[in-house]
């Protein structure tokens, strides 16, 4: 995985950076891939250090984001191939995995991937019961029973005419 980058300032064309996850795993990434993340780009512009420590992204999630960045930084791939990669990328992933991904892409400001993941989550979330949403998003219901009943009464049209799912 480690390539012959980092040969010094004279061959600085294909630089790479090391990104460390919150659980200590390190990933070697080409700079062209890293800068597709607006946050990483900013960090790289501000400091000389080629090691970036991300304190709130775990190794599994980071590996996925890096796979995405590397694919999109590959000039040899057509836009069509990148688009089908994106669809493949989110298909079949557990909702929980997508949750970590959407947060990581939001933190790293990888707008395209953030949208793709959010859209996938939205597709799963559609027509689901409120109880399902609370469970899958780890949300504590902070309404009183009366307040929740009132909310449901206000938007009654949104509840009346379809079968909502719980799985």
């Amino acid at each position: 995985m480690v390539t012959t980058d980092e040969k010094g300032p004279l061959t600085a064309k294909k630089k790479s950076v090391i990104i460390r996850s919150c659980d200590g795993d390190e990933f070697l990434v080409s700079e062209s891939a890293a800068v597709l993340s607006t946050s990483l780009k900013k960090i790289l512009e501000e400091k000389e250090d080629r090691l970036i420590h991300l304190s709130d992204i775990d190794n599994k999630t980071l590996a996925m984001v890096i796979a995405y960045l590397s694919t999109h930084a590959d000039d040899g791939l057509s836009d069509d191939l990148k688009r089908s990669f994106d669809q493949e990328f989110v298909s079949g992933k557990e909702f929980d995995v997508l949750k970590y991904l959407v947060l990581a892409t939001d933190t790293l400001q990888v707008t395209c991937l953030c949208y793709t993941v959010a859209k996938k989550m939205a597709d799963i979330m559609k027509n689901k019961l409120v109880e399902w949403v609370r469970r899958e998003f780890d949300i504590q219901n902070d309404y009183t029973p009366e307040a929740e009943a009132e909310i449901r009464r206000l938007d009654a049209w949104a509840w009346d005419d379809r079968q909502l799912e719980d799985d």
């Binding site: 959407v102 947060l103 959010a118 409120v130 049209w157 909502l164």
Partner: protein
């Protein structure tokens, strides 16, 4: 899942809003019941801006009664519940509540009506229940033909549309119970060739004729999948 040591406790509100904005107006309304934080995200302008048609500003700018809404959600529902007169009162515009798709209604002055200029056949009047200043009143014709044309670019893309004729029957109407032909066609400007199925509709259904007299208004529909180029007739 709960035992897993994870850096994630909850998603920030803008993240949740981003996800909800890819669902639907219905899902967003139901999401308000999840928790207070979800409510705040589900009612944010970021969400409702995406449910509004991309060109809504342009469409609404043709109205002489500007809407004053403090939030995009309020604005969305105002466009669903109170149709807006646009284009100098020639047509009205509203949104379909569950989808946010654009709906238009043409006033009678904007549709082609056979024999409309002959006072013994048709006359112009006004009705308090009509959103338009004028309505056409049918007196008597031997040939009833009504044709409305709309630029299909005005419609929401990838949407199945229905066309309705909205009318009110007078107390002493007669002769309207026979079948009529209705169709929705895509008309291309460069050619006279049209396409579209012809449906049979009834302005007054053949059964229960007696009870129809009390009806305030009725609609009939012809269905046609909307395609982008050309006009819808």
């Amino acid at each position: 899942m709960a035992d897993e040591i994870s850096p994630l406790f909850s998603l920030p509100e803008d993240c949740i809003a981003n996800i909800i904005s890819f669902t639907s107006p219905k899902d967003a309304c139901r999401a308000t019941a999840v928790s207070l934080g979800f409510k705040s995200a589900a009612e944010s302008d970021a969400v409702w801006d995406r449910f509004l048609p991309p060109d809504y500003k342009e469409v609404v700018s043709g109205s002489n009664s500007p809407l004053t809404c403090s939030t995009k959600k309020e604005f969305y529902f105002s466009l669903c519940e109170s149709p807006l007169l646009i284009d100098g009162g020639k047509m009205s515009f509203r949104l379909s509540r569950s989808t946010g798709k654009k709906c238009y209604m043409l006033c009678a002055r904007e549709v082609e009506i056979a024999w409309i200029h002959t006072p013994m056949h048709w006359t112009w009047t006004s009705l308090p229940e009509s959103r338009f200043a004028e309505v056409a009143e049918l007196l008597s014709v031997c040939w009833l033909e009504i044709r409305g044309t709309l630029r299909s670019q005005m419609l929401s893309p990838k949407t199945n549309y229905s066309a309705y004729l909205v009318f009110k029957l007078s107390e002493n109407h007669y002769g309207l119970h026979c079948s009529s032909k209705a169709s929705v066609k895509v008309v291309k400007e460069s050619t006279t060739k049209t396409e579209g199925d012809i449906n049979t509709v009834y302005i007054v259904p053949p059964t229960n004729r007696a009870s129809e007299v009390s009806m305030q208004a009725a609609t009939f529909a012809a269905f046609k999948k909307c395609r982008r180029p050309g006009s819808i007739q």
